[in-house]
């Protein structure tokens, strides 16, 4: 399985996908550092999860 040809939606999808991945791991790090409450972490992670599954099919198309 490899990332396929670049469609017009590839770059925006990649940006959203990377942001979603960041939104999955950075809030827990912020919680660990004591700068974000857990409920906010959970909320951001859920939104990031939704965004990831919207972006990933466009970013990670399979040959």
């Amino acid at each position: 399985m490899t990332t396929s040809e670049k469609s017009p939606s590839h770059t925006p999808a990649k940006v959203v996908g990377l942001a979603a991945l960041a939104g999955t791991i950075l809030p827990p790090v912020a919680f660990l550092c004591g700068v974000m409450p857990l409920d906010t972490v959970k909320g951001i992670m859920l939104v990031s999860t939704i965004l990831w599954f919207v972006a990933a099919p466009w970013w990670m198309k399979v040959d």
């Binding site: 991945l21 990831w52 990670m60």
Partner: protein, 479 residues
């Protein structure tokens, strides 16, 4: 626990396989040069397929058994390294030289009839594995309902915990079976897309847990309290990490995947699965239970269900992760188990075979015993299936040296090579009789199942040489 066993079951038995994954073509011929793939194809596949829902069970089970920090951090490192080296220096070189599926290579050595037996064993073991995944996924349903609606199983649960639990397992299992009836292309894609996100969810669970515990000293957290009985040793952890995928590496099931590799160095790609899924993810999952033991007073011998722990740590994103991790692994497993059953019962339709496999999986999922004894089950799985790798190693490296035929069944046309059957069954039956899962143990001691794949595989190879030489000697005398 691995999730790509599904790519192999049924191959050689059913000609049309609707898999988009590596390994579904050229089932009865060498892979041509034009179809070979570079290393990147394998890194992503191994990374995704070794991060499954069952990882949420294995880490906490180590905590239950009192594993210490050194065993977990260094033992898992060594065990996973040994697994990677086995893939790289044993499985991949044979795969790149033969370029055949395990099933076709086995057919040439053992005969088509024995491949059917192997497939049946594989199919049934797949069903129990998928059942464990249904169990884990069902624990993620509980937090969506008011507390106490669904009684969750603990480590000591062997029987269903109540009607709501049974209903959860049936609904999840039925949904998985229904999708399996449609083929599993979509689920394979979802699994592919999920991999990086899923790994980060595991990591996020650990990071949040560290935040809740107010420390980043992972070594201290993984150190069990004084007086904790250690039921698994350092060597036990090393061997478990090495052989939890024994069927794949020394058992040669991954010939079906790595035969597409341009060079044996593609075997290094297994490191992605081992060190992300079987190292980082297991330790992250272990930390979840450690938090519940330290802060909420949970008895480590009873444990806490993955759904509750993950929901407490990262919320609904974690619950989605458990369900997807279980679904993407169990669904194709059900599909492939169906193919295996269809190979054994050719009169059965594809739909009927998949429904049969799904029913067995749901039945296994309802009973938490399989998930709660996952470490034992994985060891038994490797002990039964890995020895066939010994036959292939002998055939590939030693046959000419010791003076026995290569691919004997292909030359003789026999359906069952008795030398193979005896060489496979004798070590497996003796080995399993030494374990706690055996109803009869005449030995007076017990051996954990994950100690057995290597000795059984070696014994199988040695017996195969001896029996083949004996058979050829008798044939020569008769002539």
């Amino acid at each position: 626990m691995t999730s790509h066993e599904y790519e192999h079951a049924g191959q050689g038995m059913v000609d049309e396989v609707e898999s988009p994954a590596v390994g579904s073509e050229y089932e009865r011929e060498r892979v041509p040069e034009s179809a070979l793939k570079g290393p990147s194809a394998f890194w992503g596949m191994y990374a995704g397929e070794h991060t499954a829902g069952t990882e949420f069970m294995i880490g906490p089970l180590f905590v239950k058994w009192g594993a210490d920090a050194f065993s977990l951090i260094v033992g898992l490192l060594i065990g996973n390294l040994l697994a990677v080296l086995t893939w790289r220096y044993l499985t991949a070189p044979i795969a790149c030289s033969e370029r055949l599926t395990l099933y076709y290579k086995m057919e040439k050595i053992a005969g088509r009839g024995l491949v059917t037996v192997y497939n049946l064993a594989n199919g049934l073991l797949f069903c129990f594995l998928a059942g464990s995944m249904i169990t884990v996924s069902a624990t993620a349903v509980g937090p969506f309902f008011p507390a106490g609606t669904i009684a969750m199983p603990t480590f000591s649960s062997t029987m269903p915990t109540g009607p709501a639990w049974i209903a959860s397992c049936i609904v999840i299992g039925a949904a998985m079976t229904f999708v399996a009836l449609k083929g599993y292309d979509v689920v394979a894609l979802v699994g592919h897309y999920s991999a990086p996100w899923m790994f980060l969810i595991f990591l996020a669970c650990a990071v949040v847990t560290l935040g809740k515990l107010g420390t980043t000293d992972v070594w201290a957290l993984l150190t069990p309290p004084p007086g904790t009985e250690q039921s698994i040793s350092f060597v036990g952890i090393v061997l478990f990490a090495w052989f939890c995928n024994a069927a794949m590496h020394i058992g040669m099931a991954d010939l079906s995947v790595l035969r597409f590799a341009k060079k044996p160095s593609a075997g290094w790609a297994s490191a992605a699965g081992m060190f992300l899924g079987h190292y980082v993810a297991w330790i992250c999952a272990a930390l979840l239970l450690i938090y519940w033991v330290k802060e909420k007073g949970v008895n480590p011998q009873e444990g806490k269900d993955p759904g509750t722990m993950v929901n407490d740590a990262v919320g609904w994103a974690g619950l989605v992760c458990i369900i997807i991790a279980g679904w993407t692994t169990a669904n194709p497993t059900i599909y492939r188990a169906g193919l295996a059953f269809q190979g054994v019962l050719p009169g059965l339709s594809r739909t009927g075979a998949t429904l049969l496999a799904g029913a067995v999986c749901i039945a296994a999922g309802i009973f938490p015993a399989f998930a709660m004894r996952l470490l034992d089950f994985v060891g038994v799985y490797g002990t039964i299936l890995a020895p066939v790798g010994g036959l292939i190693v002998v055939d590939h490296f030693l046959a000419d040296l010791v003076g026995i035929d290569r691919d004997p069944a292909a030359k003789s046309g026999e359906s069952v090579n008795m030398a193979v059957l005896i060489a496979w069954l004798v070590p497996v039956l003796i080995g399993l009789s030494m374990t706690a899962v055996s109803p009869v143990n005449p030995w007076g001691f017990e051996v954990p199942p994950w100690y057995l794949p290597l000795p059984c595989t070696m014994a199988c190879g040695i017996l195969y040489i001896l029996l083949s030489k004996f058979a050829s000697g008798r044939a020569a005398a008769a002539a």
